[in-house]
């Protein structure tokens, strides 16, 4: 996940990055440390200007992308970016909007106009919708969404305008540090034993029973969307989950926790590898730190 940038020293105009900037890429800096004395760089996240130059405001590594210099912290809350797939929990039901907890510095916002209203994509929201917001999403509900926009002060707007997104059911939530999540093209993975994993870049992972109709489909035709946006997509009823699936879900959850404790990257391949490695252990022992350590090591070796 490191942002390694190749130095285009011949393209940078008269900036003696090799001389005045004593720091190689990915050097460790601490708050107050001068990153470079040249103030002509664009200041990215984790830096600020002082009379002595550009200084780091976080403890982390220096990264450079063309003329943007920033400091990436090794620890920190999730930083939302446009297009991220996240899982959120409803905090508050407000006037035509919901306030969502996504594990970032500020709460996210889901506007009433950004969700799929039951009855089809072309259905306009009515006054009764505004009053019945709680029937759709109420406090404590989990759902997955995409980040629509990030504004000043860290306000984040989400939307669920696709069949891929919506309320989550039939499963279990695992929360891990967001830096461990590997970004990939797809976030819904079908795992073994009938378990489905939905990965949120904000570190929230939803393990659920695989449903007959997989909810992760590509954008369908409008008519299909109309058909499928029934009130049932906002239902709170869980289906019957057989005990075997439940224990698989639990096992997967422990594996993900094991990877997180080891600070290993979390992707479908590492999770599957961890699951394989964990099969030799009894399910009651999976929360034991030593066993978790072993699982993580074996998972990384094989993936």
């Amino acid at each position: 996940m490191s942002l390694l940038v190749t130095r285009k020293s011949n393209n940078l105009n008269s900036l003696e990055i090799n001389d005045s900037d004593d720091y190689k890429n990915n050097a460790v800096v601490t708050p107050g440390e001068v990153v470079t004395e040249e103030v002509t760089w664009m200041k990215g996240h984790g830096t600020f200007t002082d009379s002595r130059g550009i200084k780091a405001s976080l403890a982390g590594t220096v990264t450079r992308v063309n003329k943007l210099i920033s400091v990436r912290p090794l620890k920190g809350r999730y930083q939302p970016e446009v297009g991220d797939h996240v899982i959120g929990r409803v905090l508050e039901v407000g006037l035509k909007r919901w306030k969502i907890e996504i594990g970032a510095a500020q709460a996210g916002t889901l506007m009433l106009g950004s969700i799929n209203l039951p009855g089809g994509i072309l259905r306009r929201k009515s006054e009764s919708d505004e009053i019945q917001m709680r029937e759709l999403l109420k406090e404590g509900d989990l759902f997955n969404a995409e980040v629509q926009g990030v504004f000043g002060h860290g306000t984040v707007h989400l939307h669920t305008r696709s069949l891929k997104y919506g309320k989550l059911r039939n499963g279990f939530l695992v929360v891990v540090p967001s830096q461990l999540i590997v970004r990939s093209r797809s976030y819904s993975h079908i795992l073994q034993s009938g378990v489905n994993m939905l990965v949120g870049i904000n570190g929230m992972i939803w393990l659920s029973k695989q449903t007959e109709e997989p909810s992760a489909v590509d954008t369908p035709a409008i008519t299909r969307l109309e058909e499928e946006t029934q009130w049932s997509i906002y239902s709170d009823e869980n289906e019957f989950i057989p005990p075997i699936t439940r224990s698989s879900i639990a096992r997967y959850a422990c594996c993900i926790k094991a990877l997180a404790a080891f600070e290993a990257p979390i992707s479908d391949s590492t999770v599957n590898a961890a699951y394989e490695a964990s099969l030799q252990y009894q399910s009651e022992t999976l929360m034991n730190p030593e066993i978790q350590n072993n699982i993580a090591i074996m998972a990384l070796k094989s993936s």
């Binding site: 103030v39 600020f48 200007t49 002082d50 009379s51 002595r52």
Partner: protein
Amino acid sequence: MLRAPLPVNNSRKFVKEILNEGFRIDSRSLTEFRPVQIEFPGDYGVVRYTQGNTKVLVSVSAELTQPFEDRASEGMFMVTTELNPMAAPWFNQNDSFLDRIIEKAIRRSAALDLESLCVIAGKVCWRVRADVHVLEFDGNLIDAICAAVITALRHYRHPDTAIDHTTNDVRLIPTKERNPIPLNILHTPISVTFSFYHDNDELLDEDESDTTPSHICLCDATREEESFRSFFLIVTINKSKEICQMYKSGGFQLSTDAIIDCVEQSYKRAVDLTDFIETKLTEDSNLRDPEWKIKLARADNTRIAS
């Protein structure tokens, strides 16, 4: 609940600009204090202290009580500050920070000798309390309250006591029979609050080669000046040049030279204000002293030898 009026950007900019020139809205210089008035409107221990438009009323009282177990030979002293909407419409709760500063200035610095308040060790002692009522607020509450409290403590007299050693009974002697006794005040701590401002609005000027931003420092800020200061420095000092307490937090950094400068300024102020307080106390004690009035009225005044 009313909120303090937010500083208006235009007036803030205007005040800052004239501060840069070294002037203030009320035409004082940066190191000038507002005129102080001290009145003793009632009994011993009641002081009305005015500094500009900030008015404070302090009332000192004392009662006999049992001392703390771990401080058997000491009396007690407490200050309570009442901040209510009479002072300013948005005041509606007590400021514990204010209480602490005053307590440190007076109690921790041992301005009031607590051991002298002990009547019978472990059994009876005086509990002195100073009640502060802020009548009007126009900035610089700390300085006003500190000065008012110490003046009131120096003014106050408590009834004399008669101790029956056989029964360990303490009897208060009425003031008509015997003169009340003043408290044992060891020194007079005076607080001075300095307000600091950046001298340019942009906090991080990229062209600035000087690492320490030059700043503006003023004494005795009014409410408006207080509303946009970067931070304040409180120095409590007495006439013997002993610093009783110092407090600075937040804002930008100050060099040690700047701090020492402030200490010198506050010492000057302490000397002036202490002298003023003493003059006022003497005047008042003369007025209350029946002998003095008689002396004044005598026909055979001292003749000045030519």
